[in-house]
């Protein structure tokens, strides 16, 4: 085989190249402009049709957005969210076949402080984006992430969802809307000249301190995402929007699914990666771009000149092993090369999942995680991974010599065998100092991991800490009177 003069007596088998036809696979007339999914060929026109149709089909299939509703588009400047913005523009175009019927607004959250950008850099990016948003013609809001420090407590409290918007009422609502429209035209929303709120230097520093208090990049990313989500929900609520659209594409959702599993968010997978996410109660998060792969979006943006702005994030230019998210992303991308169906298989798995256990409209607030607002998954079951980890922690530490103060059994933590393994300096269980409450019992499994990675929780925004204290107080109150309560489980109304 390695001779100087190589002779191959038999004909070497020619590797089969996938044959790509020169003509568009759909209309069979025009020449191919793009190949997606290994062998599907499209010409320019057919590709645009396919792309636009998919967007409408996704929205129409999942009858969630009712006509006339105000929908907030979360645009980060990246290719997916800009493509989403472009599609919404197309859809609302007067000449469009089957116009979209909702009222959009745009929100961009400037997280420059978390990435340590200078004020000038931030302003430059913001003005680039402002140009894009103005061209779109919808009302837009630009918020610096620092606003998260001033949020009210209500953000982390799931509001009751409005009157049930069932799929059955969808058809009726659409008909009604069309009838009404015949009389008056849909008033396009005026673009208000909203100026970017001024950011105080101290706020920036506080936020940087908060992000910096997380030791690992994984925890930092998680924290940043949580804060961003809270801010988005708050803005949607305060400006009267009832739906929030995120621009996550198929590839990103596949990576998110694997990352969530690796972080212990198995119980919340359906909400993290599904089409609609109703954990906030009144605001429903929708992901219309979830059927598009990153390649399709990139091809579309290139071919039809969709403007997007590159903005660095926390994990830009970090090595593969910097965080769980980066590792998963590189893993999936590399695997996709050898096994082209990886992303779609993972994505299809996400479609088959649902939220575990109780319905997500439960009003019993102690059942919801303080940070991510999903149903708690730390119920003490005798044989579970969570319990096993706690046993290990207990066995690896010295037993206390009769602690004088009985730690207040914060319900869902360790099963009565003392909670000495509880924290890693996250404030003691019993006589909690007023400043730093013990958050562990209020968090789901993966949020607990994030908090464990933080040096201290005192930098968390005030709304989180005060809500935590409120819940703890409420829980202790309930404990005091538990023997007199007749109703054992969920009680209606505010907890």
């Amino acid at each position: 085989m390695c001779q100087v003069v190589e002779e191959y007596p038999d004909q070497l088998e020619r590797a089969d190249l996938p044959s790509v036809s020169k003509k568009c696979g759909k209309c069979k007339e025009a020449s191919t402009a793009v190949v997606i999914r290994t062998a599907d060929t499209y010409c320019r026109g057919c590709f645009k049709e396919y792309f636009v149709h998919k967007f409408r089909a996704t929205l129409g299939k999942n009858r969630i957005i009712f006509p006339g509703e105000k929908v907030l588009l979360a645009v980060s400047g990246g290719p997916s969210s800009c493509a989403m913005l472009n599609q919404v523009q197309e859809g609302l175009n007067q000449n469009a076949h089957k116009k979209l019927r909702f009222l959009p607004g745009i929100i961009y959250i400037d997280e420059g402080c978390a990435v340590n950008q200078t004020v000038e850099e931030r302003q430059r990016k913001v003005s680039e984006l402002q140009a894009v948003f103005k061209a779109a013609g919808f009302p837009f809001h630009i918020m610096p992430l620092e606003q998260v420090l001033d949020l009210p407590n209500s953000v982390v409290v799931a509001a009751p969802s409005p009157s049930e918007q069932l799929a059955s009422t969808y058809k009726a609502a659409v008909d009604h809307f069309i009838q009404a429209k015949r009389s008056n035209d849909l008033t396009a929303q005026d673009q208000e000249e909203t100026s970017v709120p001024y950011v105080q230097e101290s706020h920036t520093q506080r936020l940087q301190q908060l992000i910096g208090s997380a030791k690992t990049l994984t925890a930092r990313e998680d924290l940043l995402n949580t804060l961003k989500q809270h801010l988005l929900v708050h803005i949607a609520r305060s400006k009267g929007y009832s739906k929030l659209m995120l621009g996550d594409n198929c590839t990103r959702l596949a990576v998110k699914l694997l990352t969530s599993i690796s972080l212990g968010r198995g119980a919340q997978l359906a909400q993290d990666t599904g089409f609609s996410d109703s954990r906030y109660g009144d605001i429903i998060v929708v992901r219309p771009m979830r059927d598009y792969s990153a390649n399709e979006i990139a091809s579309y943006n290139h071919m039809f000149n969709v403007p997007c702005v590159v903005i660095p994030s926390l994990n830009t230019k970090t090595p593969d092993r910097a965080s769980v998210h980066c590792l998963t992303e590189s893993f999936v991308t590399k695997l996709q090369v050898d096994f082209p169906s990886t992303v779609s298989t993972i994505y299809r798995t996400s479609e088959k999942l649902q939220t575990a256990g109780r319905s997500s409209i439960s009003t019993n607030l102690c059942d919801r995680c303080l940070l991510c607002m999903c149903t708690m998954d730390t119920a003490v079951e005798k044989a579970s991974a969570f319990q096993a980890t706690q046993v290990s922690t207990q066995l690896s530490q010295a037993k206390p010599t009769g602690s004088p103060e009985q730690p207040t059994a914060s319900g869902q933590c360790c099963s009565g065998a003392g909670t000495e393994g509880c924290g890693s300096g996250v404030g003691c269980c019993s006589s909690a100092s007023v400043k730093t409450p013990d958050l562990k019992s209020l968090l789901c499994y993966s949020c607990q991991l994030t908090i464990k990675d933080m040096l201290s929780v005192e930098h968390l925004p005030a709304y989180i800490l005060s809500e935590a204290q409120r819940r703890l107080r409420r829980f202790r109150m309930r404990e005091d009177i538990s023997e007199f309560l007749l109703d054992d489980g969920d009680e209606g109304g505010d907890v």
Binding site: A383, A385, V391, L449
Partner: protein, 343 residues
């Protein structure tokens, strides 16, 4: 300044636990490791007193540690179990013969009865012969499917009530990841269960007492206890798909050591939507083993091997089951598809 053990705070710490990061001395580590396995057994109610339990022993670190710990706990906590070793000979020269020697040594060391079943006597094929026909890509499927049935048949011969295998936390986490990558929702739901269902004839329930023990801790335990085990990788395994999941898991562990338990936690809390099609458990029409199709997988694989169609059994083949059952020859087109093998 030597670091003190965090459990007894007296002796010097000699190791750092991969699972929680605490520094422990030898005795405290042994104690913690054994207690955790004991806790798992008790919490999940894996055994009942008076049962006969077969320990699936391959001679590798997991099964050696499992045998050691089971014997130890059985005595310490009076489980009242009758233990025995069950080993499977796949017929891989150079790999299995050596590990079987280790199992025989274990038998003498732990004074437990031993039974060895081989693929040759059960199926008429050794793994070496199978790999010659199938190639290096899908051979792990054959080995795994055959081994499962071999263990069950061995257990029936030995008349035991339960089998326990040495699957550790890393294995379970890898399986969860693999099932997500492969889109196998049915398996995804079942794979984190600590013991299998015990209904049906010809099926011996099996459990994983080491489910929450990290692989690294098992190695640490074996090392410090100076246990004798065989530590080479199977020569046919490098191209298995599981390798990808394993590398990913190892990298994850280096970023966040608790990832392994986190993945198991995720797997345990997954919930599949109603209305998703799930396979129903029935029996194989040919051999009577449990199966969700007309023919069980090992019958299909064996049929493929015997007929010289190595790809039968890899990929979708339910439509061919009737043909196989009635011994009809397959059409030429079907044969051609099933014959091609890529090395």
């Amino acid at each position: 300044m030597p670091v003190l053990c965090s459990a007894c705070t007296e002796k010097r710490a000699v190791l750092k636990r991969p699972k929680t990061g605490h520094s422990l001395c030898k005795e405290c580590f042994f104690w913690a490791f054994e207690e955790e396995v004991h806790y798992t057994i008790v919490a999940a109610q894996l055994f009942k007193p008076g049962e006969t339990v077969a320990i699936a022993a391959s001679g590798g670190k997991d099964s050696t540690v499992l045998a050691h710990v089971m014997k130890l706990l059985n005595e310490r906590y009076s489980y009242g179990l009758k233990l025995m070793l069950l080993s499977v000979d796949e017929g891989i020269t150079g790999y299995r013969d050596d590990s079987l020697e280790t199992v025989k040594r274990n038998q003498e060391q732990y004074e437990l009865p031993l039974k060895i079943v081989s693929y040759e006597e059960l199926y008429g094929w050794t793994m070496d012969a199978i790999v010659k026909q199938v190639g290096l890509k899908n051979n792990c499927t054959f080995c795994g499917v055959f081994r499962r049935q071999a263990l069950d048949r061995g257990a029936i011969i030995l008349k035991v009530d339960k089998i326990c295998t040495g699957h550790n936390a890393d294995d379970v986490a890898e399986t969860v990841l693999m099932n997500v990558l492969r889109g196998d929702v049915a398996r995804l739901r079942r794979c984190t269960a600590i013991s299998t269902a015990s209904e049906g004839e010809g099926v011996v329930p099996r459990c994983k007492p080491l489910k929450y023990s990290y692989e690294k801790e098992i190695v640490l335990y074996a090392y410090f206890k100076k246990l004798d085990y065989f530590s080479t990788e199977c020569i046919y395994s490098p191209n298995a798909y599981r390798g990808y999941a394993r590398t990913f898991l190892k990298d994850l562990e280096s970023i966040r050591p608790s990832s392994i338990m986190d993945i198991i936690h995720s797997g345990e809390n997954l919930c599949v939507r109603e209305g998703v099609k799930m396979p129903v458990q029935g029996t194989c029409k040919r051999c009577g083993y449990i199966s969700s199709q007309a023919l069980c997988k090992s019958c299909v694989l064996l049929e493929g091997l015997n007929r010289g169609l190595p790809k039968l059994g890899i990929g979708k083949h339910h439509r061919l089951h009737d043909k196989i059952l009635s011994q009809q020859p397959l059409t030429e087109k079907e044969e051609r598809k099933l014959k091609s093998v890529d090395f």
